[in-house]
Structure formats: C-alpha cells, structure tokens
C-alpha cells in the first residue's frame, strides 16, 4: 500500500516562560491509502497542533512532511494553499463554514478554487450533500443549520475534491449525542469506502472507529496499536449478560 501521508520528526515550539514549550516534540507518523488513523490524548498534549502541522496551517520548526509522496513542509503560504485545496480536506470542531455563503456555496468552494466549472462544481456539491443527507438544506446559511447539519456540510466540503486525506480535529466536540452518532456513522462509512482519514480526538467513541490508534502525550506519540477486532461477538454478548460473582 502506498503512503498518503508521512511525517518524520515533526517539531513545533512555542515561547514559554523560560524555556520554549514543545507542543509537538519529534513526531513520526504514517497514514496509508484507505486507512483510518486516530490520535488520542488528553487536552494539551499537542494533538491539535499536530493536525495543523499535517495540513499546513502551521509551519514545523523542524522535520519533514510528505503528502502523496511530495515534500510539503517547506512550501510557501501560496503554494500550500494551492496544494491543500486539491489534496487535503479539513473538518474542524467549530465547523468553520463561511457565514455569508449558503451550505452548497460552502461545499463547492474548494472545487471552484481548483478551477472546476461553476456548473460542475455545483453538481458535485449537491451530490455530496445528497449523500450526506442534507440536500434540503443546500440553500441555507450556516446560521440556520443545526450543529450536526453544519458538520455534515463541512465534511462534504472536505470531500468535494476527493482529497488524499481528510484531517479531522475533534469532529464531534460541538455535537449532541444524536449528531455525534450520525457523524461517527459517516466516518465509519468513509473509512470503509477507502478514504484515508486522520482523526484527532479525546473521545473514545471517535477514536475507536479507526483501524489504528496512536496515543499522544506531551507532544510525542507514546503508543501505537492496531484496533482490529476485539473479543468475539459471542464473548462480548456473554459478557454483557454476566452478573458478576466468582469464576
């Protein structure tokens, strides 16, 4: 399998009182094509910063980053923007849709930036909204959408150019449990459909949708594991029925 994302020794420092704080302290990371990876850790461990570095929203102080085989860590702002619009999709905790654009206008934006014709972009956008179940909301402004609807629009926007990888930062952080369930289902389907995903979260439910789990603490990856299948289904159901007591 080919790697869609590879990071080597990423470092990001911030000035602090006295010595600078290392928000990301030498992280190596790989995401294969079609793979869903989640990065878990307590708040303040640097996982959001890591995500920003991987998507070019922040510059690393050291290290290398490759997306789709191309070296990207040294790109200028403009080059990064051009690269990002085609190859990276972002999903944020706070949704971050443009207030003054309707749902469908938000979704088609990356396609228009890439140079797709207006009609084709609009068509693709409506298709995606349809797939995600928010097509009737296409003409609404974000302010008139519920949290779950907004996040689905954001996911559609992230997918419209069929990016190499979708980077999601606490995608369910602002959602109620119903909407969370919907988004989790969505991510599960995306993962099964072969979209490369990197999810950053402290929520166990979100993390467990991934194939591979990375644990982050104090800016570094301290553990990595495949989640694969756990106990067998029968055993699990038996465990549910267990009433305790001695073995």
């Amino acid at each position: 399998m080919s790697m869609v994302l590879e990071a080597r020794g990423l470092v990001r420092r911030y000035p602090g009182d006295g010595a600078p704080i290392r928000a990301v302290d030498g992280v190596d990371l790989v995401v294969e094509a079609g793979e869903a990876v989640s990065v878990m850790g307590p708040s303040g461990c640097g996982k959001s910063t890591l995500l920003h570095l991987l998507g070019g929203l922040e510059r690393p102080d050291a290290g290398e980053l490759y997306l789709g085989g191309a070296r990207v860590d040294g790109l200028s702002e403009t080059r990064w923007a051009v690269f990002r619009r085609r190859n990276v999709g972002f999903v944020f905790q706070a949704f971050h849709l443009v207030d003054e654009l309707t749902a469908v206008e938000n979704v088609e934006l990356p396609a228009l930036l890439v140079g797709v014709s207006r009609r084709a972009a609009r068509h693709r956008a409506m298709e995606l909204l349809e797939r995600l179940g928010v097509a009737e909301r296409a003409g609404r402004l974000p302010d008139h959408l519920s949290g779950g609807e907004r996040q689905r629009v954001a996911v559609a926007r992230a997918l419209i150019n069929q990016p190499l990888v979708v980077l999601a930062d606490e995608p369910t952080g602002n959602l109620d449990s119903r909407a969370t369930g919907d988004i989790l289902r969505l991510f599960g389907e995306l993962a099964r459909a072969g979209q490369a995903l990197l999810l950053v979260t402290h929520d166990a439910r979100v993390a467990s949708t991934a194939d591979r789990l990375l644990t982050m603490r104090d800016g570094a990856i301290v553990a990595q594991t495949r989640l694969g299948a756990g106990t067998s289904v029968a055993g699990l159901l038996a465990g549910l029925a267990e009433l305790g007591g001695e073995r």
Binding site: L184, A204, A223, T225, G230, T231, L236, E246
Partner: protein, 174 residues
Amino acid sequence: MSMRDVVLSLLAKEPAHGYELRQRLAQALGPAGGALNPGQVYVTLSRLERAGLVEAREVAQPSQPDKKVYELTAAGLERVMDWFNDLTWSKVAPLEFHLKLVAAAATRLTDPVALVDSQRLELLRELRQLQELALRESPDSDGALLLEGASLRLQADIRWLEVCQQRIVEREAR
C-alpha cells in the same frame, strides 16, 4: 469479584497471617471495605490451602497462642501472574481492576502503566465491536438501546482508566 485472586495477590508481596491480610485488604479498599464480610478472608484462605495455591506454617509466639502464617506456593504465584494478564472485563471489574493496580504497584511483578494501557486498548477494541454491532441495528430498536447502554459504560470505564494512568504518571514523576 474473584476473592481467591485478590487474596493470592495480597500474599504475593510477603507472607502474612489472616489478621494482617484483612488489614491489607481494608487499606486497599478504603471505604468500599465496609461491604466485605470479614470472615470471607479466612474461608478463602482455607480454600486456597486445599487447592495447593498457598501453604500454612505455625509460628510460635511468646505469650499468645500460635499464629498461622500463609505463604504463596509456586502454583499460587503462577496463578497471580495469570490474573494480572487476564484482560476480561466483567460488570464488577472496576473494583477488581483497582485491586489489581494496587497489587501491581506493591509487588512490582508487572508494570502498572503497561497494565492500564493494555486494558484500555482492549476496552477500545470492545467499543469498536459494539459500534459495528450498533450499525447493523436500526437506530430505534431496543437492541440499539441496550448497545448504547453498554457503549456508555465502556466509555466511562475507559475514561476512568485514563485517570488511573494519569495518577500513576504523576506519582512516578514525584
């Protein structure tokens, strides 16, 4: 909760007689210790002796009747190690896991951090299974409701394990 495993783990550090064992248990359980029947310890000890997992010695005392001191056998030690490595999570698991952690920290037979990590990952795998099961159910069915309940409890336990991990890390930092 498996009393036999708990008593065995308490003896893993060093041999003790019944009264001392009860004290060790009370200290580990704190307020939860009130729920435990004091006689349970002695019953369990005799059962363990019969199963060959512990052996007893008489120790002479100057002005008191003889004490019975219990000690782990090799089979008993093996059983303790198996217990540490068992990742099964039952409904009353938190209490048992808590004692496991206490024992691990006291005996140094296994690394407490690694213990928590592997248990946590196992729970995450179970959570993933639950979610896949839930996907096959329709969201409004009773089955989905039950699965949601189990999922929420698992999440709570996972969160508790993270707290345990944090506590261990802090303690080791001091």
